[in-house]
Symmetry: C2
Subunit: 440 residues, 2 copies
């Protein structure tokens, strides 16, 4: 594979930067090298950059998948020194400076690894089948099918206990994703669906949010955690803090020692770094994150950088959080160090600038913490909305997402309530005929 445009052989002599991962870290690094004297190969196993902060909206049928994703090669179409490959990374050989891909190999002068994080089940890998996590578009579409199919199954079901299990939803993990999912599910059960069902009273649906730690949104100040709990309870969510789930199976969960029947359990609790980190042959922390030097390069390999959720970076004794702004800053910083190296200058140490923290809870409810500014409720929700629209890539996407939100806001409808693909296991088990035999 020759990474240079065929019409410009001059560029063949430029140093080759290989970027693995087209998320916030990899894409921001690539963009920051637009005018650098390098050629860049950006490799991602999908064809798109995903705006992960709105992924829960796809999982809850508020947005379509294409609303929050854009093809990487479209985003980078004008950056002539960047070539995009949709391919999977098989292994990294840091000694030979070579990446093996499913479809071939790439030799590099600089490597930037930004493959992010995935779900972690804390040693309970068998939970994955019953409690899907939310990291990719596939995850989001799978959760959408599961949630919508649960309401459909409840409508078919005659047995009241079974129907209750279909209408019990358990969200595990009280971080931003768990809070967003629980709040939105409550909104769907209370406002979106009720008039459309004839047998199941979907207002009976129970949304449980389970957090093993003492409070929700642990990265927020305590008073905002408490506001979050209050706003969720107002939406009808049952919040369990300090309670751990000790078992998950097809029938439900064991929570604080007692069984809760539920056919829909969602996992928003654990995150582990992409397994690629281990291949770099270096120290990783408990979550699989790679310990990097102050300038984000690998110790002993100044030509290799790790950024985003895959990097373990501490600052002032605290870990830099696994959020989009941190990944973007790391990507841009690593790009700067590559420019420095090309000039023979030493790389500067990375400093994370924390602009603040915000999380949405549900319809017109959110919490915001920006420096000394703390907001909750409707004002925070507007703040959240504007911030997210501002950062969403692509002018068209912003218009469409805003239109969809305005529509949902006024009608309580969620336009993407489409089940695609096979409904998850269990959907066909509902017994139509009660103990009395045939009905009509």
């Amino acid at each position: 594979m020759d990474s240079a445009p065929t019409h410009d052989h001059e560029k063949n002599r430029l140093p080759h930067v290989v970027v693995l991962g087209g998320g916030f870290g990899g894409l921001w690094a690539t963009r920051a090298l637009a005018t650098a004297p390098v050629r860049i190969s950006l490799v991602d196993r999908t064809n798109h950059h995903l705006f992960q902060p709105l992924l829960y909206q796809v999982a809850t049928a508020g947005l379509s998948a294409p609303d929050i994703a854009a093809p990487l090669r479209h985003i980078l179409r004008r950056q002539r020194n960047a070539t995009v490959y949709m391919d999977e990374v098989r292994s990294i050989d840091v000694a030979a400076r070579r990446v093996a891909l499913a479809g071939g190999g790439l030799d590099y002068d600089f490597l930037l690894v930004a493959t992010g994080a995935t779900h972690a089940y804390f040693g309970h890998d068998d939970w994955a089948a019953h409690a899907p996590g939310l990291k990719t578009l596939e995850d989001a579409l799978g959760i959408r099918s599961r949630v919508l199919s649960a309401f459909e199954a409840a409508e078919r079901e005659n047995d009241p206990l079974q129907r209750e299990a279909w209408l019990n939803f358990v969200v595990i993990g009280g971080g931003p994703t768990g809070v967003e999912l629980a709040g939105t599910l409550a909104e769907i059960a209370r406002h979106t669906l009720p008039r459309e069902f004839r047998h199941a009273d979907v207002r009976d649906a129970r949304i449980h949010l389970v957090e093993a730690g003492p409070r929700l949104l642990a990265s927020m100040p305590e008073d905002l955690s408490e506001k979050t709990r209050q706003q969720l309870q107002r939406l009808g969510v049952q919040v369990h803090t300090g309670d751990a789930v000790t078992a998950i199976d097809e029938e439900g969960v064991v929570l604080a020692g007692s069984r809760l029947a539920s056919r829909t359990v969602l996992w928003a609790a654990g995150v582990a770094a992409s397994p690629l980190g281990g291949q770099l042959g270096l120290a990783t922390d408990r979550a699989g994150r790679v310990q990097v030097a102050a300038d984000l390069s690998l110790p002993g390999h100044p030509e290799v950088f790790v950024v985003g959720d895959l990097a373990s970076v501490s600052q002032d004794g605290k870990p830099v959080p696994g959020v989009a702004p941190a990944a973007k800053q790391m990507g841009a910083h690593a790009a700067g160090v590559i420019r420095d190296r090309l000039r023979g200058a030493p790389g500067k140490p990375f400093r994370y600038r924390d602009y603040g923290n915000l999380a949405t809870i549900g319809r017109m409810a959110a919490v915001v913490h920006f420096g000394r500014l703390k907001l909750s409720g409707l004002l925070a929700w507007w703040f959240w909305l504007v911030a997210h629209l501002f950062f969403l890539i692509g002018f068209r996407n912003r218009i469409i997402v805003l239109t969809n939100w305005a529509w949902s806001y006024w009608t309580y409808q969620r336009h993407a309530r489409i089940i695609v693909g096979k409904p998850p296991a269990g959907g066909g088990n509902a017994k139509k005929n009660g103990p009395g035999g045939a009905v009509s």
Copy 2:
């Protein structure tokens, strides 16, 4: 399963109409019974009504799946005598007046079967894996992934012959779906993608449209078939009429005796009625369609009706075509006959009113045949656009679809270019390293 709302036991004594299929036939029948003294159970294996005339737009990344689909229970939320079940039909027992579903059973007083059509490969079922057809949202999303992945594979590929195979697209079948797919693929290769690839020159892509019969759009007047051919050729499509494909495999097709290397073959040639028709124990035609009486009921079973693509209906010596307006008219007619039967009146014979025929070809090109009116080109395209927006269900969908079209029209961009799910087989086979060995 008791199909009556639990809060209204009065309705339990009303005759029970079971409708199988929520397409144009089933949904229009259900709506036409809104004020009839019956209770209706509408069963569909998906949760949505699909606006099939725009399905090719999802397959070619112009629209998102939720843009052209709406949940059946949302459409019918105000029709209190209708209950929607997402379930699969296992069998029909016309003697016992009972339908077996995956999740139970339904006894009926009237049955309306509207389960439509699927692809047919004329005895070559092994072709299905290599040449997917386009009937459901899953089909459309699968084709979208295949088409987009082919361009991605071409970008990774070093071998010129292999690259050519990735950039050759073969559409089999010169009816409306084949014409739409071929025209849109040509538009994508010529206008949407070129600037975004660095190695593959996607303007080299060849779109072949193959029709075994003598002309495209056989249901149109001959001069419009010729206009269609001309407009497609102007878009860059290579039109083969009178040529049959005799083999399809992973490497391509055999067309008119010679091999054409192509990694992306799409099937728009054959349609067969849903296999459910055979279960009614009655005569079916070659395509599996059920021969019905003049009032659309089953001979010998005045309480069972078959409508839409599953019904074989002739009028003035010609078969009624398998198009949306015919299905809607049949659904509404069967509902009328049920009302007649309830009053003890005989059912009237069905008459198909042919309002005309239209097909789109690509950007600003279409053909229209309405009575004595014949249009082609830009004017026909506007006619087509307005007609389709008018018939699209849901005010919101119309706005979003119009916005997407306006956007595509001005920018040539297609917003849904997102590959979700595993790329199809073959995507990982491209050899990155040419005969020369490692590259960088």
